[in-house]
Symmetry: none
Subunit: 247 residues, 2 copies
């Protein structure tokens, strides 16, 4: 195949059952993926049930890495997808697995580091985790029966990635800048939040603070910022927080 | 949806594990399929483990029918697909799940009765069963790890059928937000520039002022801002420009 090798990180956030981690590893290897990351797996890591279920896909488990937070699991990534079953009250692009797969191939051709978040079996991703993502992936499902197993969600996304291998469109960003990674974005968020707190911006609207900050994170995530944008925004913040001169 | 309702028979030939029958029923209902047929299930029929795994997809199991032979299971069908993992030495059309799904939609529009055969977990379909089929479906898989679970094979085929029927936009914003107009953007630019000027941000870098502001305008233009983003950004500017409280 002529298209670049694509190998997004598959990030399972607080997975509960070892069997599902093993089945997800199998689904990954079925479609040539190998970068498995786990955030706080319920039963610790490594997990014997995961190994038993993975069978001959155990190489994926051996190379899996565990992280204490989503932020740390995605810090090196530049574009992150969040898989959600139900609509979220967030202003964020929503893509089918197929559309996301085509987009991921574009990003891969630009050497953008990609990852896909999958939530826990019982309740999916927390809103806080979704806000860290650039784009939501929702599998089109029978609205009367839209409960899908964790490993099956991984399977469908990995399947579409494999399918898209031959459909890579040739499209480039106009410049050679790189996309900001999530660590840079989190630093930006933290700086804005600290500055707003220190200036008392939320003093009379404390009850709205978390919603306002969540919306802000979603907004910046949607902007697909470049590393140069992060520096420019840091400069703007620096300028805006200078105390106004006396006239 | 404009395309006809499609509901091919899903025929599991000599399935061995009840859990896989239940998981296949879930996968079917996830994508709106309901005609499950079983040929000689190893552990008889009905099967408690299938019911436990199917959970709320038990309606599919209740309506499932068991047959003593593939011939009897497909007697009312007019076009039959056989899913196989490995190439068979047979002169028969081979389709991907996606191509088969598109073809099935054509057949459905002609009211052709369709079914899809899935073989047993250990060894797949017998050659004799494959010869009864009109077309072979093979899932494109990593050639180095092409072992796929029975229920996952059903899932992928059902998923493609649903995709072929679906009119979900590939990528969309979830809400009816509108893109900001240029007047709103210019007001935002002017406010940032005025605030930076009044705070003396450019005092020691006057020679770079115009380049910095031009880059800032280009950056915000690339963000494809919504009207709500403009308001959020105005709020952030308001907060950042409050003088820091004395400690």
């Amino acid at each position: 195949m002529s298209s670049p090798k694509i190998n997004p990180a598959i990030i399972l956030v607080e997975p509960q059952m070892g069997e599902n981690i093993g089945a997800a590893a199998r689904a990954m290897l079925n479609f040539g993926l190998s970068d498995l990351r786990l955030v706080n797996p319920r039963d610790g890591w490594p997990n014997e049930k995961a190994v038993a279920m993975a069978a001959s896909a155990d190489s994926v488990l051996e190379n899996a890495r565990a992280f204490p937070s989503v932020e740390e699991a995605i810090s090196d990534l530049q574009h992150v997808y969040a898989t959600t079953a139900r609509p979220r009250d967030m202003i964020k692009h929503v893509a089918t697995p197929k559309a996301a797969a085509l987009e991921m191939h574009e990003y891969a051709s630009q050497e953008t580091a990609i990852g896909i978040l999958f939530g826990k079996e019982s309740s999916g991703l927390a809103s806080h985790d979704v806000t860290l993502a650039d784009t939501i992936i929702t599998v089109p499902l029978n609205p009367e029966f839209s409960s899908i197993n964790l490993a099956q969600a991984v399977l469908l996304v990995a399947y579409e990635l494999y399918q898209a291998n031959d459909e890579t469109p040739a499209k480039q960003l106009p410049h050679a800048e790189r996309r900001a990674n999530k660590q840079e974005l989190v630093h930006l968020f933290n700086r804005i939040e600290n500055e707003l707190d220190e200036r008392g911006y939320f003093d009379n609207i404390q009850h709205r603070r978390s919603v306002i900050l969540r919306n802000m994170r979603n907004m910046f995530a949607r902007f697909a910022m470049l590393d140069t944008d992060i520096r420019a925004m840091q400069g703007i913040i620096k300028g805006l927080t200078i105390n106004k001169k006396e006239k």
